[in-house]
Structures are given as C-alpha cells and as structure tokens.
Amino acid sequence: MSRMWRVGLLSGLALTAAPAHAFIAYVSNEKSNTVSVIDTESWTVTKTIKVGQRPRGIDFTRDGKFVMVAVGDDDTIQMIDAKSQTVVDSLPSGPDPELFAQDAAGKILYVANENDNTVTVIDLEKRARLGDIQVGVEPEGMTISPDGKTLINTSETTNMAHFIDTSSRQIVANVLVDARPRFAEFKHDASELWISSEIGGTVSIIDPGKHEVIGKVNFEIPGLRKEAIQPVGIGMTRDDKTAFIALGPANRIAVVDTATRKVMKYLLVGQRVWHMAFTPDEKYLLTTNGVSNDVSVIDVAAQKVIKTIQVGELPWGITIAP
C-alpha cells in the first residue's frame, strides 16, 4: 500500500515536473545571412550559424540529420549537419532558389527557382540534379500532396497554382487564385488545398480532385487597411480542424476554423509575420516575424502567444527537428 502510494506520488511528481519535450528549431535570417538555432525547452537561441547569402526556405531532411536552407543569392541550397550545426554540403538548385518541398520518403526535393521560371528536381541521396520542370513566371509556393503524386507550385506573376504530376513531371492543371499566391498547404487528409494570396489578401481553398476553388477565407481587422493584410504562411493542425495563417504586415496570425472557414481569433505576434512551424507534439507553433526580428511562440491549445525570442535580422523560414 505504502509502496503504491509512493509510486503514485512519484509518478504524480514526474507528471508535474516533467519538462515539455525539448525540440530544436532552425530559423533562416534573410538579411543577416545566418540561421538561428532555438531550443524549445529554454526558448533561447543556442547557436547562430553563418550560411550563404539571402537564406529563405528551410527544412529538415526526413531523417532529421540535415537542415536544408535555400540561399537565393548564392544560387544553391546548403546542407547543415544537425549534429555539428555547421554547413557541410550544398545541393545543385537553379538560380535564386526560394522555397522547396520534399516527397514523403525524403528522397526527392523540388526547388522553386524564382529567377528562371523552373522547378529543379533533386535526388537527395545522390545530391544530384535530376531535371527541371518549366512552370509559370516567378515560381514561389511549393507543396506535395500527401500521396506524393502531385506537386503544387504557385506562380507569383500569373496568379496560378500549377498541379504537376510527379511521375511524368508534366503540368496537369492550372487553377487561378487571387493576386500573388505565396504558399500552398494540403489538409492532411488531402481533401483540400489551401493557397494564400499576399496581394489578394485571401486564402483560396481548392478541391484537389476537381481542380476548382471551392471556398475562400477572408480577413478583416478593424482599423487596418486591406493592403496591410497579406496572408503568407499557413499551418494546419494534424486533425485538420484549425488553420493558422500568417498575415504579414498586419502583425497577426489568424486562427481559422476549417469547417466554417471563418477566422475565430487574431493573435498579435510580431512585425511582418511570415512563416511558421509546429513542434512535433503540436503543443506550440513558432512564427517568424521579419521586421521585429523575432520568433513568437503560440500555445496551440490555448491559442495564446506565450513567448518572444529575438533572432537575426529579417527572420524568414523555420523548421523544427522531427
């Protein structure tokens, strides 16, 4: 009995004292040409890594061993070893890579090259270029359908989402969305594709089977001009019930109920909020704020900003170790 009591007490203690799982976040700082490493237990920057010029798109390899960062002005993608936290290699992208997406297995990388209207296909194991796909003017947003069969690329200038068959590498459909589409995100169940339009100020919701826009999310913040609301990054919870949308110079994240497609709440985060990443346990959502040079930490369940962490200049992208 007393032993059980003790065990109970101990486990109770363990529960209350157990720190939240510590994760490592990497943030690309576009202006200072660095990547900040954040520890999610202490919420501090533990290291600043010098990288190439104009780092933007950033993502972990699926095995968690490397962080890939597109350094646009150096026309390449650098690989940071997650153990040594140093740049160890680079990948052959096209000119001015901005954002990229990898397939579910983590074998193939698709890179949007802003300057030459192509998407470069890279074999991640061999770190070799497999070919290019011609897309619309100024390719920008990139994502892959959960089944890996369709690559989505948005074109900033033609305002289209291109649907690309990953096996034939051909464009199979184009869907017109609002002005300057920036980011694309599938629901985890693949039923919907969400695309943010920075200038249009909306998020278009597309039926990926029919290639049709079936709904739109609109934003309104009293006292703010419409032009100040520029949707960019999108984060979707694993149950697909809640979407978080970064609104750029509106300095807010919109929390959207995906069933009604209505904004439930606006959270003031930092200036020019751009991209975001969930911790793997989905307890926290971290956003990059380009003008205030910081990262906001949102408690996902409470839908509340709990912390701000100063990083480098013009933080752009963020990825968290799997």
Binding site: I221, P222, G223, L224, R225, A228, P249, A250, N251, R252, Y266, L267, L268, G270, Q271, V291, S292, N293, V305, T308
Partner: protein, 204 residues
C-alpha cells in the same frame, strides 16, 4: 580630370536617386528604398482594449509622461525600456490596466510624431540633394568649357575645380547619411511594436 570623374559619379548618383524616387509617385521626394508609410496605424501595433477614453490624458499624468519621454528616446536601450515598463506596471496596483493604456497611448502619439519628424527631414534633405546635384552638373559643364578655352585661365579652373570637389564631397556625405537615416522610421516602428506588445502581455 578627377573632378570630371567625380562630377560624373555625382550625376550617376543623382540619376539613380531619381529612379528610386519614382518608385512611389505619391511621394516624389522620398529618398529611401524602404516604402514610405506615413503613419503607423494603431491596429498594426495594438490588439488591446480601445483607447478612445484615453486621448491626451497621458500628458496630464506626470509619471506617465516622464516615462513616455524616457522610453521614446532612442538613446534608451530597448531592454532597459522594457524593464522600465514592467516595473512601472508591476507597481501600479489597481491602476495597472488604466496606466497601461495611458502609457501605450503616450508612446503611440510620441513615437508616431518622432517618426513623422524624421520623414519630413528626409524629404527636405532629398530636395536639397536634388538642387545640389543640379548645381554640380551645371558647374561641371562650366568647368569643361573653362578647361577647353583659349587662352586658358588656370586660376579660374583651379578655383572652380576645388569648389566642385568640395560640393561633391558634401553631396556624397549627405547621400550616405540619408541612407543611414532611412533606417530610422523602421527602428521607431520596432520600438513602438516591442513596447506595445509588452504592455499588452503585462495587461493579460
């Protein structure tokens, strides 16, 4: 020869300045690559309770207005300013929410005004620079004429050369200063946002 090169450099500078200014036709004298945003809107920095009842009341509160001056000064480091906000609100007791609103209203008015002053100054300098560029352009044409004249008046050539070198140097220095000052409105935005965000967090 040096003068001619300098004058050409100045011309190039002045021309590139004109091109940059054409970026936003609403503000022909705006010299910065950063877009001109004439005013910070309240909603961009504040998601807290309405401030309609505050108006200018912050000026009547000596403690708040003194703190506003201190926090708005660029010489006060941001982390020190943040510490002062926390201490002030922690010591406000039951008046915390009211004081928080007063303080933010004061910062908003003061920093927005400070920002406008900087922008007006930038546009004034930009107009002066354009005049200076025109002047340098004219004088370098005059100098070329003097250099080619026969008989050549060496004393005059020297005098005008020296004047041009001097004017060009002033022009270039100002050009550098303008580029530096162009960052100031953003620095003020950042300060207002950081302090506003902190005040809102402390109110929760």
């Amino acid at each position: 020869m040096t003068v001619r090169i300098l004058a050409m450099a100045v011309l190039a500078l002045a021309l590139s300045g004109t091109a940059a200014r054409a970026a936003d036709p609403r503000y022909p004298n705006w010299p910065c690559t950063q877009a001109k945003v004439p005013e910070i809107s309240l909603a961009a920095v504040w998601a807290g309770p309405a401030l309609d009842d505050v108006q200018n009341k912050w000026k009547d509160d000596t403690k708040v207005s003194a703190l506003v001056s201190k926090l708005s000064a660029r010489k006060t480091p941001l982390d020190e300013a943040e510490k002062s906000v926390k201490e002030f609100l922690a010591g406000s007791g039951a008046d915390k929410a009211a004081n928080a609103k007063l303080l933010f209203a004061g910062l908003f008015d003061t920093l927005n005004a400070q920002r406008s002053q900087v922008m007006i100054g930038l546009e004034r300098v930009s107009r002066k620079q354009r005049e200076a560029a025109d002047n340098i352009r004219e004088e370098s044409v005059q100098l070329q004429a003097l250099q080619g004249a026969t008989p050549r008046d060496d004393a005059k050539v020297d005098a005008l050369s020296n004047e041009l070198i001097w004017k060009t140097r002033i022009f270039e220095d100002r050009h550098k200063v303008v580029r530096f000052v162009c960052e100031v409105p953003t620095t003020i935005d950042q300060r207002l946002f950081a302090l506003g965000r902190l005040i809102q967090q402390e109110m929760e």
